[in-house]
């Protein structure tokens, strides 16, 4: 068929499906934190990408420290580094909420400007601390290379790792939001702040915690991306457009919407890139998204709330 053998075509099919799923997990990982901050709290956080970069830089820092001082731990440090990235980004998020965001909850347009400013400050801070050059942490050997189920199929291990991490994190977020008491308070605050306050929920504390959690998840995403690409001061600004795209397309207030949107965008982009040429794939995907948003302005999964 088309001058190729069936085995060739089937291996390409397998690898192509995998690359679609791999892109899906990357997009979902990016969007998960923002789905909480923007989707749930309504904060337009343009510095979200920088929190991912912060997570990535944390991994880089861990890698440098471990390889210099305790090389024996080199094969295992990556797992610890991911946890560290979560807490580093989360703590900075906590501070940002306390010092900036909490004054702006009722002024969404000002939030836009303030977080954009924050993103510029963070970018220059990365540049001053880590230098303008892009950095890559030294990854443990088990993350490199590929599975070879047959002679013609190569499945990259780092892709599998990111996928696993995404699954785990998505499940964790779902469990937390819909099965835990804090998650319940969070959703209550989002839906009706005054009433939640009246029944004894400390809504300010809940806000702070929610924002910090979203930032922490962004940190984990950034940490995971170090297995795929490099990290530079402006890496965050590369992620931010895709991130908002996924959240808005999915319908801002819905976690399921975010998952579905990431899946849809990833699969269509991956397939279109295969059949079209480079940039054209992306252009077609964006056109599709515009059309869908014209028909469903609130995104794929608009949650029905009384206004």
């Amino acid at each position: 068929m088309f001058g190729y053998t069936w085995s060739e075509l089937s291996s390409i099919f397998v690898m192509q499906s995998f690359s679609g799923f791999s892109l899906f997990s990357v997009l979902l990982l990016m969007a998960l934190g923002l789905a909480i901050i923007f989707g749930q709290m309504g904060v337009v956080n343009l510095a979200h990408g920088e929190f991912m970069a912060l997570g990535a830089y944390t991994v880089y820092l861990c890698s440098e420290i471990v390889h210099k001082h305790i090389p024996a731990l080199a094969p295992y440090y990556f797992i610890v580094a991911i946890v560290a990235a979560f807490f580093a980004a989360g703590l900075v998020g906590l501070f940002v909420e306390w010092s900036l965001i909490r004054f702006l909850y009722k002024r969404p347009l000002d939030t836009l400007l303030a977080t954009w400013g924050l993103s510029l400050i963070m970018q220059q801070a990365f540049r001053s601390i880590f230098g303008a050059r892009e950095v890559t942490p030294t990854l443990p050997d088990w993350l490199m290379g590929s599975f070879k189920p047959s002679a013609t199929i190569d499945i990259p291990i780092n892709g599998v790792f990111v996928m696993g991490l995404t699954l785990l994190l998505t499940f964790g977020v779902w469990l937390f939001m819909f099965r835990s008491r804090t998650g319940l308070q969070m959703r209550a605050t989002v839906q009706n702040r005054v009433m939640s306050g009246a029944v004894g929920i400390n809504t300010k504390l809940v806000d702070r915690f929610t924002f910090s959690l979203g930032c922490g998840i962004a940190g984990v995403a950034g940490a995971a991306f170090t297995t795929i690409g490099s990290t530079g001061p402006d890496s965050g600004s590369r992620y931010i457009v895709d991130t908002f795209l996924v959240v808005v397309f999915g319908g801002t207030a819905s976690l399921l919407g975010t998952v579905a949107s990431a899946f849809g965008i990833a699969q269509s982009q991956s397939i279109l890139e295969f059949f079209l040429k480079g940039t054209m794939g992306k252009v077609s995907v964006l056109t599709l998204i515009v059309i869908v948003l014209m028909i469903r302005p609130k995104g794929l999964f608009a949650s029905k709330v009384r206004s």
């Binding site: 690898m15 303008a132 590929s146 990259p156 690409g229 490099s230 991956s270 940039t279």
Partner: protein, 418 residues
Amino acid sequence: MIPHKNKSKKVPYFRRRKFLGALLAVASLAALSSGAADYPTDKVNTTGLAVTDDTVTVGQLHSATGTMAISETGSIQAEQLAIEQINAMGGVLGRKIKIIVEDGASDWPTFAEKAKKLLVKDKVASVFGCWTSASRKAVLPVFEKENGMLYYPTFYEGLEQSKNVIYTGQEATQQILAGLDWIAKEKGAKTFYLIGSDYIWPRTSAKIARKHIENVLKGTVVGEEFYALGHTQFGSLINKIKLKKPDVIYAIVVGGSNVSFYKQLKAAGITSDKSVLLTISVTEDEVLGIGGENLAGFYSAMKYFQSLDNPNNKAFVPAFKAKYGANSVIGDVTQAGYLGPWLWKAAVEKAGSFDVDKIAAASPGIELDKAPEGYVKVHENHHLWSKTRIGQWQLDGQAKVLYESGLIEPNPFPKGYQ
């Protein structure tokens, strides 16, 4: 010794004996400072540039901040090293070089604005700067209008020539054609897959490469694709490469995309033992980010590699490392940046003047035999005659030079390639 015209006017009451004494003092000073007095300021500077009796001011215009800072830092460092070395040798026409550093901040309008400031307000004698084609295009009208002199270090797409610019990097045909010829001959390559970032330089380069492959090498281009700058997911592309099985993957991917591209190639099993990859966008600087293990065995076509084995380079590399640290690396553009101040010095000395018009006229034919890349010569079209080399990347991030062309004539407007 001709005493200074203005000075003698200012002191008309000079007595003869005092005058003789002063003349002696000037003469002995001149002997010490290698002849600034041989070139009186009003003779070497007729257009009001920032040239005094003992200093000459030049400008440096690169991005020290923003996206491009990663690439431009090397050029900034190399130019400053060259100027420092020239000053240690006594400067230019007996004048020490002073530098005014401006930051283009990776923003093209800022480049134009700063260029104007350097030329109009600071009256600099020459500017060393720019990196991307976009920044060069932004400052070009300023340099032409204010009649300034720019030394531009990056290999670029060609299709440009200006009295006010000396291009110290290679134009596209110099870099591309020799590399393709080599790979076609050495590997018997017939099919090529072209991959680039989506902007003017990769697109023009791919166009030239395609013409050469189809018309001269009689090969075929089985794929030609461009991805947005900063693209990090190459899964679908890699699958297409695996399906098409080209003899050569020809890569013109730049910036942050590079790391993802080569990491994903490796993870997908496209390595040098099975595939041939030739790139014109990876220098030692990029390898630092990509990692030697992800590139090992692939080829780059450049005019300079840090590992070049010649006496000039053996002096240059340690001097650079002594100033900027043992871990610093030197890529093609960094070396081209280093040539700028030396070529300017040679032109000023040949013209016996700092005037931009005279330097522009004196530049063609200037030879530099102590360039780290070897011998270079300025062409009528203000580009350099230079050699193209093929380097094979090693695990340690250095290239092993496998091939060296003869001196290639720069041809920024190649016929049959447009």
